[in-house]
Symmetry: C2
Subunit: 314 residues, 2 copies
Protein backbone atom coordinates (compact mmCIF):
# COMPACT_ATOMS: atom_id res chain seq x y z
CA UNK A 1 0.00 0.00 0.00
CA UNK A 2 1.43 3.37 -1.04
CA UNK A 3 2.17 5.79 1.81
CA UNK A 4 2.31 9.57 1.87
CA UNK A 5 6.09 9.40 2.10
CA UNK A 6 6.24 7.63 -1.25
CA UNK A 7 3.69 9.87 -2.99
CA UNK A 8 5.06 13.21 -1.73
CA UNK A 9 3.05 16.29 -0.83
CA UNK A 10 2.55 17.61 -4.34
CA UNK A 11 1.40 14.23 -5.55
CA UNK A 12 -1.07 14.00 -2.70
CA UNK A 13 -2.52 17.44 -3.37
CA UNK A 14 -2.97 16.60 -7.06
CA UNK A 15 -4.86 13.44 -6.14
CA UNK A 16 -7.01 15.14 -3.49
CA UNK A 17 -7.99 18.02 -5.81
CA UNK A 18 -9.85 15.61 -8.06
CA UNK A 19 -12.00 14.47 -5.14
CA UNK A 20 -13.18 17.88 -3.99
CA UNK A 21 -16.27 19.79 -5.08
CA UNK A 22 -15.47 23.33 -6.17
CA UNK A 23 -18.38 25.70 -6.64
CA UNK A 24 -19.19 28.27 -9.29
CA UNK A 25 -18.63 31.25 -7.03
CA UNK A 26 -14.96 30.38 -6.71
CA UNK A 27 -12.76 32.84 -8.59
CA UNK A 28 -9.41 31.40 -7.51
CA UNK A 29 -9.42 27.94 -5.97
CA UNK A 30 -6.98 25.34 -4.70
CA UNK A 31 -3.39 26.01 -5.73
CA UNK A 32 -3.01 29.80 -5.40
CA UNK A 33 -1.95 31.56 -2.21
CA UNK A 34 -5.56 32.06 -1.13
CA UNK A 35 -8.97 31.08 -2.32
CA UNK A 36 -10.96 34.03 -3.66
CA UNK A 37 -14.74 33.76 -3.73
CA UNK A 38 -17.72 35.96 -4.50
CA UNK A 39 -19.71 36.38 -1.35
CA UNK A 40 -23.30 37.54 -1.16
CA UNK A 41 -22.78 38.77 2.43
CA UNK A 42 -21.67 42.33 2.81
CA UNK A 43 -21.31 45.55 0.95
CA UNK A 44 -19.19 46.67 -1.98
CA UNK A 45 -19.59 45.44 -5.53
CA UNK A 46 -16.50 43.97 -7.16
CA UNK A 47 -15.23 42.83 -3.79
CA UNK A 48 -13.99 39.32 -3.25
CA UNK A 49 -13.56 37.35 -0.07
CA UNK A 50 -10.11 35.80 0.43
CA UNK A 51 -9.85 32.63 2.51
CA UNK A 52 -6.66 30.98 3.70
CA UNK A 53 -5.58 28.49 6.33
CA UNK A 54 -2.05 27.84 7.43
CA UNK A 55 -0.74 25.49 10.10
CA UNK A 56 2.53 25.17 11.99
CA UNK A 57 3.63 22.05 13.84
CA UNK A 58 6.16 21.67 16.64
CA UNK A 59 9.33 20.01 15.41
CA UNK A 60 8.58 20.91 11.78
CA UNK A 61 8.01 24.67 11.61
CA UNK A 62 9.70 25.56 14.88
CA UNK A 63 11.75 23.71 17.46
CA UNK A 64 11.85 23.64 21.23
CA UNK A 65 14.19 26.60 21.45
CA UNK A 66 11.69 28.99 19.84
CA UNK A 67 10.06 31.48 22.20
CA UNK A 68 6.28 31.03 22.47
CA UNK A 69 5.60 34.61 21.34
CA UNK A 70 7.63 33.94 18.20
CA UNK A 71 5.75 30.71 17.53
CA UNK A 72 2.46 32.61 17.71
CA UNK A 73 3.81 35.47 15.61
CA UNK A 74 4.98 33.06 12.92
CA UNK A 75 1.71 31.09 12.85
CA UNK A 76 -0.33 34.27 12.22
CA UNK A 77 2.22 36.06 10.01
CA UNK A 78 2.45 33.13 7.57
CA UNK A 79 -1.26 33.37 6.80
CA UNK A 80 -1.01 37.18 6.57
CA UNK A 81 1.77 36.78 4.03
CA UNK A 82 -0.54 34.76 1.80
CA UNK A 83 -3.17 37.49 1.95
CA UNK A 84 -0.40 39.96 1.06
CA UNK A 85 0.47 37.88 -2.01
CA UNK A 86 -3.09 38.48 -3.26
CA UNK A 87 -2.85 42.21 -2.43
CA UNK A 88 -5.68 41.67 0.01
CA UNK A 89 -6.68 43.32 3.25
CA UNK A 90 -6.71 40.78 6.08
CA UNK A 91 -9.74 41.14 8.38
CA UNK A 92 -10.65 38.19 10.61
CA UNK A 93 -8.79 35.23 12.01
CA UNK A 94 -9.81 32.02 13.75
CA UNK A 95 -7.18 30.09 15.62
CA UNK A 96 -7.25 26.37 16.27
CA UNK A 97 -4.64 25.03 18.65
CA UNK A 98 -3.84 21.37 19.25
CA UNK A 99 -2.28 21.40 22.73
CA UNK A 100 -0.88 18.86 25.17
CA UNK A 101 -2.38 19.02 28.61
CA UNK A 102 1.04 19.17 30.27
CA UNK A 103 1.82 22.50 28.58
CA UNK A 104 2.25 25.46 30.94
CA UNK A 105 -0.63 27.94 30.75
CA UNK A 106 1.86 30.79 30.56
CA UNK A 107 3.50 29.27 27.48
CA UNK A 108 0.14 28.99 25.69
CA UNK A 109 -0.81 32.54 26.65
CA UNK A 110 2.46 33.80 25.21
CA UNK A 111 1.75 32.00 21.94
CA UNK A 112 -1.59 33.84 21.73
CA UNK A 113 0.13 37.12 22.67
CA UNK A 114 2.43 36.64 19.70
CA UNK A 115 -0.52 36.03 17.39
CA UNK A 116 -2.42 39.00 18.79
CA UNK A 117 0.61 41.27 18.31
CA UNK A 118 0.97 40.73 14.58
CA UNK A 119 -2.81 40.52 14.06
CA UNK A 120 -3.23 43.86 15.81
CA UNK A 121 -0.48 45.47 13.75
CA UNK A 122 -2.43 44.69 10.57
CA UNK A 123 -5.93 45.40 11.86
CA UNK A 124 -7.00 41.77 12.08
CA UNK A 125 -9.58 40.72 14.68
CA UNK A 126 -9.25 37.24 16.16
CA UNK A 127 -12.92 36.29 16.26
CA UNK A 128 -12.93 32.65 17.23
CA UNK A 129 -11.36 29.25 17.12
CA UNK A 130 -10.89 26.49 19.61
CA UNK A 131 -8.40 24.40 21.48
CA UNK A 132 -8.25 20.64 21.13
CA UNK A 133 -6.13 18.20 23.07
CA UNK A 134 -3.35 16.26 21.40
CA UNK A 135 -0.90 13.71 22.74
CA UNK A 136 1.68 14.44 20.06
CA UNK A 137 3.56 17.54 18.86
CA UNK A 138 1.47 20.66 19.40
CA UNK A 139 0.21 22.66 16.44
CA UNK A 140 -1.57 25.88 15.50
CA UNK A 141 -3.84 26.36 12.52
CA UNK A 142 -4.80 29.90 11.55
CA UNK A 143 -7.80 30.50 9.29
CA UNK A 144 -7.79 33.99 7.84
CA UNK A 145 -10.49 35.84 5.92
CA UNK A 146 -9.67 38.97 4.02
CA UNK A 147 -11.03 41.20 1.31
CA UNK A 148 -9.75 42.36 -2.03
CA UNK A 149 -11.14 44.45 -4.84
CA UNK A 150 -11.34 42.10 -7.78
CA UNK A 151 -9.36 44.25 -10.19
CA UNK A 152 -6.55 44.72 -7.64
CA UNK A 153 -6.03 40.98 -7.28
CA UNK A 154 -2.95 39.61 -9.00
CA UNK A 155 -2.92 35.83 -9.38
CA UNK A 156 0.25 33.90 -10.15
CA UNK A 157 -0.74 33.51 -13.77
CA UNK A 158 -0.37 37.14 -14.86
CA UNK A 159 3.34 37.31 -15.87
CA UNK A 160 4.06 38.34 -19.50
CA UNK A 161 7.18 37.96 -21.66
CA UNK A 162 9.43 40.97 -21.15
CA UNK A 163 8.24 41.73 -17.58
CA UNK A 164 10.87 42.71 -15.03
CA UNK A 165 11.09 40.37 -12.02
CA UNK A 166 11.39 42.02 -8.60
CA UNK A 167 11.88 40.85 -5.02
CA UNK A 168 11.54 42.78 -1.78
CA UNK A 169 14.17 42.45 0.95
CA UNK A 170 17.01 39.93 0.90
CA UNK A 171 16.79 36.19 0.59
CA UNK A 172 18.07 33.02 2.26
CA UNK A 173 19.04 31.96 5.76
CA UNK A 174 15.60 32.63 7.24
CA UNK A 175 16.01 29.57 9.47
CA UNK A 176 18.60 31.52 11.51
CA UNK A 177 15.78 33.61 12.99
CA UNK A 178 13.80 35.61 10.44
CA UNK A 179 11.26 32.80 9.97
CA UNK A 180 10.04 33.45 13.54
CA UNK A 181 9.92 37.23 13.33
CA UNK A 182 9.25 38.37 9.76
CA UNK A 183 6.91 41.18 8.74
CA UNK A 184 4.25 40.15 6.22
CA UNK A 185 4.36 42.53 3.25
CA UNK A 186 0.70 43.56 3.43
CA UNK A 187 1.24 47.30 3.05
CA UNK A 188 3.80 46.93 0.30
CA UNK A 189 1.60 44.58 -1.73
CA UNK A 190 -1.38 46.92 -1.51
CA UNK A 191 0.78 49.90 -2.47
CA UNK A 192 2.18 48.01 -5.49
CA UNK A 193 -1.16 46.89 -6.86
CA UNK A 194 -2.94 50.17 -6.18
CA UNK A 195 -0.38 51.86 -8.42
CA UNK A 196 -0.73 49.22 -11.13
CA UNK A 197 2.86 47.99 -10.90
CA UNK A 198 2.10 44.29 -10.58
CA UNK A 199 1.23 41.67 -13.20
CA UNK A 200 1.83 38.51 -11.15
CA UNK A 201 2.70 38.18 -7.49
CA UNK A 202 3.52 35.49 -4.92
CA UNK A 203 5.07 35.45 -1.46
CA UNK A 204 8.30 33.49 -1.21
CA UNK A 205 7.60 30.62 1.14
CA UNK A 206 9.09 27.62 -0.68
CA UNK A 207 12.24 29.42 -1.84
CA UNK A 208 12.82 31.85 -4.73
CA UNK A 209 13.49 29.16 -7.34
CA UNK A 210 10.43 27.13 -6.55
CA UNK A 211 8.05 30.06 -6.13
CA UNK A 212 9.27 31.68 -9.35
CA UNK A 213 8.68 28.26 -10.89
CA UNK A 214 5.04 28.43 -9.74
CA UNK A 215 4.61 31.85 -11.37
CA UNK A 216 6.27 30.72 -14.62
CA UNK A 217 4.23 27.53 -14.91
CA UNK A 218 0.92 29.23 -14.21
CA UNK A 219 1.77 32.08 -16.58
CA UNK A 220 3.20 29.66 -19.24
CA UNK A 221 6.46 31.58 -19.51
CA UNK A 222 10.08 31.21 -18.39
CA UNK A 223 12.51 33.44 -16.49
CA UNK A 224 16.12 34.56 -16.79
CA UNK A 225 17.72 35.57 -13.49
CA UNK A 226 20.90 37.61 -13.12
CA UNK A 227 22.98 35.82 -10.49
CA UNK A 228 24.83 38.92 -9.32
CA UNK A 229 21.58 40.84 -8.82
CA UNK A 230 19.98 38.44 -6.37
CA UNK A 231 19.95 40.03 -2.90
CA UNK A 232 21.49 37.61 -0.41
CA UNK A 233 20.48 38.02 3.24
CA UNK A 234 23.27 38.35 5.81
CA UNK A 235 22.04 35.14 7.44
CA UNK A 236 22.69 33.22 4.20
CA UNK A 237 26.41 34.08 4.60
CA UNK A 238 27.06 34.89 0.95
CA UNK A 239 25.51 31.69 -0.39
CA UNK A 240 23.66 32.32 -3.66
CA UNK A 241 22.44 28.74 -3.47
CA UNK A 242 20.69 29.46 -0.19
CA UNK A 243 19.16 32.70 -1.48
CA UNK A 244 17.74 30.71 -4.37
CA UNK A 245 16.41 27.72 -2.50
CA UNK A 246 15.95 28.41 1.23
CA UNK A 247 12.29 28.57 2.24
CA UNK A 248 10.31 30.94 4.46
CA UNK A 249 11.68 34.29 3.27
CA UNK A 250 8.11 35.67 3.11
CA UNK A 251 9.22 38.45 0.79
CA UNK A 252 7.20 39.46 -2.27
CA UNK A 253 8.16 38.19 -5.71
CA UNK A 254 6.37 39.95 -8.54
CA UNK A 255 6.60 40.98 -12.17
CA UNK A 256 6.16 44.48 -13.63
CA UNK A 257 5.88 45.65 -17.25
CA UNK A 258 9.44 46.55 -18.35
CA UNK A 259 8.47 50.13 -19.21
CA UNK A 260 7.38 50.74 -15.59
CA UNK A 261 10.46 49.28 -13.89
CA UNK A 262 12.38 52.51 -13.49
CA UNK A 263 9.37 54.50 -12.31
CA UNK A 264 8.61 51.74 -9.80
CA UNK A 265 12.13 51.84 -8.32
CA UNK A 266 11.97 55.60 -7.77
CA UNK A 267 8.51 55.57 -6.23
CA UNK A 268 9.40 52.59 -4.04
CA UNK A 269 12.44 54.26 -2.53
CA UNK A 270 10.30 57.20 -1.47
CA UNK A 271 7.49 55.01 -0.09
CA UNK A 272 9.58 52.32 1.63
CA UNK A 273 13.05 53.74 2.28
CA UNK A 274 13.88 50.95 4.75
CA UNK A 275 13.01 47.96 2.58
CA UNK A 276 15.06 47.14 -0.49
CA UNK A 277 13.49 46.32 -3.85
CA UNK A 278 15.63 44.60 -6.46
CA UNK A 279 15.14 43.67 -10.09
CA UNK A 280 16.58 40.17 -10.36
CA UNK A 281 15.69 39.18 -13.91
CA UNK A 282 13.19 39.18 -16.74
CA UNK A 283 10.37 36.99 -17.94
CA UNK A 284 11.23 35.16 -21.19
CA UNK A 285 9.28 33.03 -23.64
CA UNK A 286 11.39 29.87 -23.20
CA UNK A 287 10.02 27.70 -20.38
CA UNK A 288 12.08 27.01 -17.27
CA UNK A 289 14.35 29.26 -15.24
CA UNK A 290 17.88 30.15 -16.36
CA UNK A 291 20.57 31.71 -14.16
CA UNK A 292 23.05 34.06 -15.91
CA UNK A 293 26.46 35.20 -14.74
CA UNK A 294 27.97 38.58 -15.58
CA UNK A 295 29.76 37.15 -18.62
CA UNK A 296 26.41 36.26 -20.11
CA UNK A 297 26.76 32.50 -19.60
CA UNK A 298 23.62 30.81 -18.36
CA UNK A 299 22.63 27.49 -16.84
CA UNK A 300 19.22 26.00 -16.08
CA UNK A 301 18.16 26.44 -12.49
CA UNK A 302 16.50 23.49 -10.81
CA UNK A 303 13.84 24.26 -8.29
CA UNK A 304 14.82 22.65 -5.07
CA UNK A 305 12.26 23.45 -2.47
CA UNK A 306 10.76 21.71 0.46
CA UNK A 307 8.48 18.70 0.20
CA UNK A 308 6.79 17.91 3.50
CA UNK A 309 6.40 14.19 2.91
CA UNK A 310 9.46 13.46 0.83
CA UNK A 311 12.72 13.79 2.75
CA UNK A 312 14.73 13.27 -0.43
CA UNK A 313 13.51 16.72 -1.58
CA UNK A 314 13.96 18.40 1.77
CA UNK B 1 3.87 26.34 36.84
CA UNK B 2 0.19 25.81 36.10
CA UNK B 3 -0.58 23.42 33.23
CA UNK B 4 -3.58 23.23 30.92
CA UNK B 5 -4.74 20.10 32.76
CA UNK B 6 -5.07 22.13 35.97
CA UNK B 7 -6.71 25.15 34.36
CA UNK B 8 -9.23 23.25 32.21
CA UNK B 9 -10.43 24.21 28.75
CA UNK B 10 -13.02 26.77 29.79
CA UNK B 11 -10.54 28.49 32.08
CA UNK B 12 -8.01 28.63 29.26
CA UNK B 13 -10.50 30.14 26.82
CA UNK B 14 -11.51 32.79 29.35
CA UNK B 15 -7.86 33.76 29.80
CA UNK B 16 -7.08 33.77 26.09
CA UNK B 17 -10.09 35.93 25.22
CA UNK B 18 -8.64 38.80 27.16
CA UNK B 19 -5.48 38.70 25.03
CA UNK B 20 -7.13 38.85 21.63
CA UNK B 21 -7.99 41.94 19.59
CA UNK B 22 -11.60 41.93 18.43
CA UNK B 23 -12.60 44.45 15.79
CA UNK B 24 -15.60 46.72 15.41
CA UNK B 25 -17.05 44.82 12.47
CA UNK B 26 -17.60 41.76 14.64
CA UNK B 27 -21.29 41.16 15.34
CA UNK B 28 -20.87 37.89 17.24
CA UNK B 29 -17.39 36.98 18.43
CA UNK B 30 -15.65 34.35 20.48
CA UNK B 31 -18.05 32.17 22.47
CA UNK B 32 -20.98 31.61 20.13
CA UNK B 33 -21.18 28.76 17.62
CA UNK B 34 -19.70 30.90 14.85
CA UNK B 35 -18.24 34.33 14.50
CA UNK B 36 -20.47 36.68 12.49
CA UNK B 37 -18.86 39.68 10.83
CA UNK B 38 -19.84 42.47 8.47
CA UNK B 39 -17.85 42.05 5.31
CA UNK B 40 -17.27 44.73 2.72
CA UNK B 41 -16.66 42.09 0.04
CA UNK B 42 -19.67 40.94 -1.92
CA UNK B 43 -23.26 41.78 -2.58
CA UNK B 44 -26.38 41.88 -0.47
CA UNK B 45 -27.07 44.42 2.26
CA UNK B 46 -27.87 43.03 5.69
CA UNK B 47 -25.78 39.97 4.98
CA UNK B 48 -23.24 38.71 7.47
CA UNK B 49 -20.31 36.44 6.97
CA UNK B 50 -20.14 33.45 9.33
CA UNK B 51 -16.73 31.99 10.18
CA UNK B 52 -16.06 28.78 12.04
CA UNK B 53 -13.22 26.34 12.53
CA UNK B 54 -13.50 22.90 14.02
CA UNK B 55 -10.84 20.26 14.51
CA UNK B 56 -10.89 16.52 15.18
CA UNK B 57 -7.95 14.56 16.54
CA UNK B 58 -7.22 10.83 16.31
CA UNK B 59 -7.74 9.13 19.66
CA UNK B 60 -9.95 12.00 20.95
CA UNK B 61 -12.76 12.49 18.44
CA UNK B 62 -12.47 9.12 16.72
CA UNK B 63 -10.52 5.94 17.30
CA UNK B 64 -8.62 3.52 15.10
CA UNK B 65 -11.72 1.50 14.31
CA UNK B 66 -13.46 4.41 12.58
CA UNK B 67 -13.62 4.17 8.79
CA UNK B 68 -11.70 6.98 7.03
CA UNK B 69 -14.82 8.16 5.15
CA UNK B 70 -16.60 8.53 8.48
CA UNK B 71 -13.70 10.48 9.95
CA UNK B 72 -13.87 12.91 7.03
CA UNK B 73 -17.66 13.11 7.21
CA UNK B 74 -17.53 13.91 10.92
CA UNK B 75 -14.79 16.55 10.55
CA UNK B 76 -16.82 18.47 7.96
CA UNK B 77 -20.28 17.83 9.46
CA UNK B 78 -19.28 19.23 12.87
CA UNK B 79 -18.45 22.60 11.34
CA UNK B 80 -21.63 22.48 9.25
CA UNK B 81 -23.62 21.89 12.42
CA UNK B 82 -22.26 25.13 13.89
CA UNK B 83 -23.33 27.05 10.79
CA UNK B 84 -26.76 25.41 11.18
CA UNK B 85 -26.98 26.66 14.77
CA UNK B 86 -26.73 30.21 13.39
CA UNK B 87 -29.32 29.45 10.68
CA UNK B 88 -26.61 30.14 8.13
CA UNK B 89 -25.94 28.90 4.65
CA UNK B 90 -22.52 27.20 4.49
CA UNK B 91 -20.55 28.13 1.37
CA UNK B 92 -16.79 27.50 1.39
CA UNK B 93 -14.47 25.22 3.31
CA UNK B 94 -10.72 24.99 3.74
CA UNK B 95 -9.28 21.79 5.12
CA UNK B 96 -6.02 21.50 7.01
CA UNK B 97 -4.78 17.99 7.67
CA UNK B 98 -1.92 17.05 9.98
CA UNK B 99 -0.81 13.66 8.63
CA UNK B 100 1.86 11.10 9.41
CA UNK B 101 4.00 10.13 6.48
CA UNK B 102 3.42 6.42 7.05
CA UNK B 103 -0.34 6.81 6.41
CA UNK B 104 -1.63 4.96 3.35
CA UNK B 105 -2.58 7.30 0.50
CA UNK B 106 -5.84 5.41 0.06
CA UNK B 107 -6.80 6.06 3.69
CA UNK B 108 -6.20 9.82 3.29
CA UNK B 109 -8.15 9.90 0.03
CA UNK B 110 -11.07 8.22 1.74
CA UNK B 111 -11.02 10.85 4.50
CA UNK B 112 -11.31 13.55 1.83
CA UNK B 113 -14.05 11.58 0.06
CA UNK B 114 -16.03 11.63 3.32
CA UNK B 115 -15.57 15.39 3.65
CA UNK B 116 -16.49 15.95 0.00
CA UNK B 117 -19.64 13.83 0.38
CA UNK B 118 -21.21 15.89 3.16
CA UNK B 119 -19.87 19.17 1.74
CA UNK B 120 -21.45 18.35 -1.62
CA UNK B 121 -24.77 17.47 0.02
CA UNK B 122 -25.00 20.98 1.46
CA UNK B 123 -23.59 22.92 -1.51
CA UNK B 124 -20.25 23.67 0.09
CA UNK B 125 -17.16 24.10 -2.12
CA UNK B 126 -13.83 22.97 -0.70
CA UNK B 127 -11.64 25.80 -1.97
CA UNK B 128 -8.31 25.25 -0.30
CA UNK B 129 -6.31 24.13 2.66
CA UNK B 130 -3.09 22.27 3.10
CA UNK B 131 -1.47 19.18 4.49
CA UNK B 132 1.25 19.34 7.12
CA UNK B 133 3.33 16.52 8.52
CA UNK B 134 2.96 15.40 12.11
CA UNK B 135 4.68 12.68 14.08
CA UNK B 136 1.81 12.31 16.55
CA UNK B 137 -1.92 11.56 16.26
CA UNK B 138 -3.31 12.80 12.96
CA UNK B 139 -5.85 15.61 12.88
CA UNK B 140 -8.16 17.52 10.58
CA UNK B 141 -9.15 21.15 10.96
CA UNK B 142 -12.04 22.47 8.88
CA UNK B 143 -12.49 26.19 8.39
CA UNK B 144 -15.93 27.06 7.11
CA UNK B 145 -17.31 30.32 5.79
CA UNK B 146 -21.02 30.82 5.38
CA UNK B 147 -23.59 33.54 4.99
CA UNK B 148 -26.64 34.59 6.91
CA UNK B 149 -29.15 37.41 6.65
CA UNK B 150 -28.69 39.42 9.79
CA UNK B 151 -32.30 39.36 10.89
CA UNK B 152 -32.47 35.56 10.45
CA UNK B 153 -29.55 34.99 12.80
CA UNK B 154 -30.46 33.65 16.25
CA UNK B 155 -27.72 33.91 18.83
CA UNK B 156 -27.77 31.97 22.07
CA UNK B 157 -28.88 35.01 24.01
CA UNK B 158 -32.42 35.34 22.60
CA UNK B 159 -34.43 33.07 24.95
CA UNK B 160 -37.31 34.75 26.89
CA UNK B 161 -39.24 33.66 29.97
CA UNK B 162 -42.20 31.52 28.92
CA UNK B 163 -40.58 30.23 25.69
CA UNK B 164 -41.09 26.57 24.84
CA UNK B 165 -37.87 24.55 24.55
CA UNK B 166 -37.57 22.16 21.61
CA UNK B 167 -35.08 19.57 20.39
CA UNK B 168 -34.87 17.78 17.06
CA UNK B 169 -34.27 14.02 16.91
CA UNK B 170 -33.37 11.87 19.91
CA UNK B 171 -30.50 12.30 22.32
CA UNK B 172 -27.68 10.31 23.89
CA UNK B 173 -25.51 7.37 22.91
CA UNK B 174 -24.00 9.14 19.89
CA UNK B 175 -20.65 7.48 20.64
CA UNK B 176 -22.15 4.15 19.47
CA UNK B 177 -22.00 5.40 15.89
CA UNK B 178 -24.08 8.53 15.20
CA UNK B 179 -21.14 10.83 15.98
CA UNK B 180 -19.44 9.57 12.80
CA UNK B 181 -22.46 9.72 10.52
CA UNK B 182 -24.85 12.45 11.65
CA UNK B 183 -26.67 14.88 9.38
CA UNK B 184 -26.11 18.54 10.22
CA UNK B 185 -29.48 20.27 10.59
CA UNK B 186 -28.81 23.00 8.03
CA UNK B 187 -32.15 22.76 6.21
CA UNK B 188 -34.18 22.47 9.39
CA UNK B 189 -32.51 25.51 10.99
CA UNK B 190 -33.13 27.66 7.92
CA UNK B 191 -36.74 26.51 7.73
CA UNK B 192 -37.27 27.33 11.43
CA UNK B 193 -35.81 30.82 11.31
CA UNK B 194 -37.37 31.74 7.97
CA UNK B 195 -40.77 31.11 9.54
CA UNK B 196 -39.91 33.10 12.66
CA UNK B 197 -40.19 30.16 15.05
CA UNK B 198 -36.84 30.63 16.80
CA UNK B 199 -35.75 32.98 19.57
CA UNK B 200 -32.48 31.28 20.59
CA UNK B 201 -30.75 28.31 19.00
CA UNK B 202 -27.69 26.12 19.51
CA UNK B 203 -26.54 22.76 18.21
CA UNK B 204 -26.08 20.10 20.87
CA UNK B 205 -22.41 19.23 20.88
CA UNK B 206 -21.51 19.23 24.59
CA UNK B 207 -24.69 17.47 25.73
CA UNK B 208 -28.23 18.78 26.27
CA UNK B 209 -27.67 19.93 29.87
CA UNK B 210 -24.52 21.87 29.12
CA UNK B 211 -25.72 23.41 25.87
CA UNK B 212 -29.03 24.45 27.43
CA UNK B 213 -26.88 25.93 30.20
CA UNK B 214 -25.08 28.06 27.59
CA UNK B 215 -28.41 29.35 26.24
CA UNK B 216 -29.74 30.11 29.74
CA UNK B 217 -26.61 31.92 30.89
CA UNK B 218 -26.36 34.06 27.76
CA UNK B 219 -30.10 34.82 27.87
CA UNK B 220 -30.04 35.39 31.66
CA UNK B 221 -32.89 32.98 32.26
CA UNK B 222 -33.42 29.46 33.60
CA UNK B 223 -35.14 26.34 32.27
CA UNK B 224 -37.54 23.67 33.54
CA UNK B 225 -37.29 20.34 31.72
CA UNK B 226 -39.92 17.60 31.79
CA UNK B 227 -37.99 14.36 32.35
CA UNK B 228 -40.55 12.13 30.64
CA UNK B 229 -40.58 14.33 27.52
CA UNK B 230 -36.90 14.11 26.72
CA UNK B 231 -36.43 11.93 23.62
CA UNK B 232 -33.88 9.22 24.37
CA UNK B 233 -32.03 7.73 21.41
CA UNK B 234 -32.06 3.94 21.02
CA UNK B 235 -28.28 3.93 21.41
CA UNK B 236 -28.63 5.48 24.89
CA UNK B 237 -30.50 2.30 25.98
CA UNK B 238 -33.16 4.06 27.99
CA UNK B 239 -30.75 6.15 30.03
CA UNK B 240 -32.15 9.62 30.71
CA UNK B 241 -28.78 10.53 32.19
CA UNK B 242 -27.08 9.84 28.90
CA UNK B 243 -29.68 11.78 26.92
CA UNK B 244 -29.02 14.74 29.21
CA UNK B 245 -25.23 14.65 29.25
CA UNK B 246 -23.77 12.67 26.34
CA UNK B 247 -22.01 14.90 23.81
CA UNK B 248 -22.03 15.03 20.02
CA UNK B 249 -25.77 14.66 19.35
CA UNK B 250 -25.58 17.52 16.81
CA UNK B 251 -29.32 18.06 17.05
CA UNK B 252 -30.88 21.53 17.26
CA UNK B 253 -31.94 22.94 20.62
CA UNK B 254 -34.05 26.09 20.36
CA UNK B 255 -36.73 28.14 22.05
CA UNK B 256 -40.01 29.35 20.54
CA UNK B 257 -42.62 31.81 21.87
CA UNK B 258 -45.20 29.70 23.74
CA UNK B 259 -48.08 30.91 21.56
CA UNK B 260 -46.35 29.51 18.45
CA UNK B 261 -45.54 26.07 19.84
CA UNK B 262 -48.61 24.26 18.54
CA UNK B 263 -48.45 25.84 15.09
CA UNK B 264 -44.75 24.92 14.91
CA UNK B 265 -45.42 21.25 15.68
CA UNK B 266 -48.04 20.97 12.94
CA UNK B 267 -45.95 22.72 10.32
CA UNK B 268 -42.87 20.72 11.28
CA UNK B 269 -44.58 17.37 10.81
CA UNK B 270 -45.55 18.34 7.28
CA UNK B 271 -42.10 19.71 6.43
CA UNK B 272 -39.92 17.04 8.08
CA UNK B 273 -42.02 13.90 8.53
CA UNK B 274 -38.93 11.75 9.16
CA UNK B 275 -37.33 13.82 11.92
CA UNK B 276 -39.00 14.15 15.31
CA UNK B 277 -39.41 17.47 17.09
CA UNK B 278 -40.15 17.46 20.81
CA UNK B 279 -41.01 20.11 23.35
CA UNK B 280 -38.94 19.22 26.40
CA UNK B 281 -39.58 22.15 28.72
CA UNK B 282 -40.02 25.86 29.20
CA UNK B 283 -37.83 28.87 29.90
CA UNK B 284 -38.34 30.25 33.43
CA UNK B 285 -37.15 33.32 35.29
CA UNK B 286 -35.25 31.43 38.02
CA UNK B 287 -31.63 30.80 36.98
CA UNK B 288 -30.32 27.28 36.51
CA UNK B 289 -31.93 24.19 35.02
CA UNK B 290 -34.51 22.10 36.89
CA UNK B 291 -35.67 18.61 35.92
CA UNK B 292 -39.30 17.70 36.75
CA UNK B 293 -40.91 14.28 37.05
CA UNK B 294 -44.55 13.59 36.19
CA UNK B 295 -45.62 14.11 39.82
CA UNK B 296 -44.37 17.70 39.58
CA UNK B 297 -41.33 17.16 41.79
CA UNK B 298 -38.20 18.88 40.54
CA UNK B 299 -34.47 18.75 41.18
CA UNK B 300 -31.64 20.95 39.98
CA UNK B 301 -29.81 19.54 36.98
CA UNK B 302 -26.05 19.84 36.98
CA UNK B 303 -24.40 20.33 33.68
CA UNK B 304 -21.90 17.58 33.19
CA UNK B 305 -20.32 17.95 29.85
CA UNK B 306 -16.96 17.33 28.46
CA UNK B 307 -13.86 19.33 29.32
CA UNK B 308 -10.97 18.61 26.98
CA UNK B 309 -8.21 19.31 29.45
CA UNK B 310 -9.80 18.21 32.66
CA UNK B 311 -10.32 14.45 32.86
CA UNK B 312 -12.23 14.81 36.13
CA UNK B 313 -15.06 16.41 34.12
CA UNK B 314 -14.91 13.93 31.24
Amino acid sequence: MKTLRQLGERGLIRQLQRLLPCGQCVVVGIGDDCAAVRSGAGGKRGGLLLLKTDAVVEGIHFNRRAAPRQIGWKAMARALSDIAAMAGRPRWALVTAGLRDDMPVRFVEDIYRGMAAVAGEFGVAIVGGETVRTRGPFWLSVALAGEVVRRAMRPRSGARVGDAIFVTGALGGSIAGKHLAFTPRIREAQWLTRRGFVRAMIDISDGLARDLGHVCRESRVGARLTASAIPIALAARGSLERALTDGEDFELLFTTPARDAERLMKAWQRAFPRLSLTQIGVIIRRKGIRLCDDAGRSRPLHEDGYDHFNPSHA
